[in-house]
């Protein structure tokens, strides 16, 4: 195995997916190749930093309160529009019933 072939298996090696004779070939190359050793060490450092060092900025102290305020506002708006829909639906239903009743009475 040469460097370019070994590099094809870096991901699999780093993910612990390299097994059997391929793993043996890879290990044999890795042990005698300083360049690949350095590249792998670099990727391992990269993975470590990505996993442990990726903290973002701290959110504001009132972040949760702001989210909950907005959630509450949206909830009230949704409830109001639902109520409005019910009121309008009922009004339309009553009107329709009145028109039908009037039509029956008029026809009779």
């Amino acid at each position: 195995m040469n460097c370019s072939e070994a590099e094809h298996f870096f991901d699999a090696y780093l993910d612990g997916e390299l097994a059997g004779s391929l793993r043996l070939e890879f290990d044999a190359h890795r042990l005698r190749c300083g360049v690949c050793q350095q590249k792998l060490a670099m990727m391992e450092a990269c993975e470590h930093i990505l996993a442990r060092d990726g903290r973002g900025p701290l959110l504001s102290d009132d972040f949760t309160d702001r989210v909950m305020d907005e959630v509450e506002q949206r909830r009230v708006i949704t409830l109001r529009s639902r109520k409005r829909r019910i009121v309008w639906g009922t009004a339309v239903g009553v009107q329709a019933a009145a028109v039908i009743a009037f039509a029956f009475l008029w026809a009779g």
Partner: protein, 199 residues
Amino acid sequence: MTRSEETRLIARAKRGHADAFRELVEAYQERLAAFVWRMVRNHHETEDVCQAAFVKAYESLDSYSTNYAFSTWLFTIAYRLCLNGLRKKKAVSGETDFSYVGDGEPDVSDALANSEEAQRLRDLIWDAVDKLTPPQKSAVLLFYREGKSCQDIGVVLGIPAVTVKSHLHRGREKLRQLLSAELAEDWQAVRYLGDSSGA
């Protein structure tokens, strides 16, 4: 937070218990902020996107499927909001070079690296990460930082798991290339020392 605890809180939140949703917000805000900040690299935008993501999650709780972790669903919403924000900024597509995104605020965890060497390596790595495309960066962050599977990352990014693997592979390859170029000088020195000691 365990999965059963999470499911219980979501069920209560669906029934209108605000305190249950508050617990979810408190449990996930730090992880979400870390992910969003890496995408947008701006503190105010991070807060806005996180807030919008939680509010949207609350409004769509009825459509949440327990087949996936709440975090996967939350990251899905946040990722779309990030992309919308980035697109509005530059009106460019997902595969375009977003390296400008990395020109934002300095990293808040600078103090974590003590020695000058460690600090340099850390900076190089995060600078390289900032040069990845949004799908590559998201795949790499969700894979390493959140420990998500390719299938879950696929849900977040809205692509098949196979494509996630490809983004991960390309992302790592790009990181390797960028870091190799940056560290080439150091390696030359190491090789030179190795050659001279072997001679």
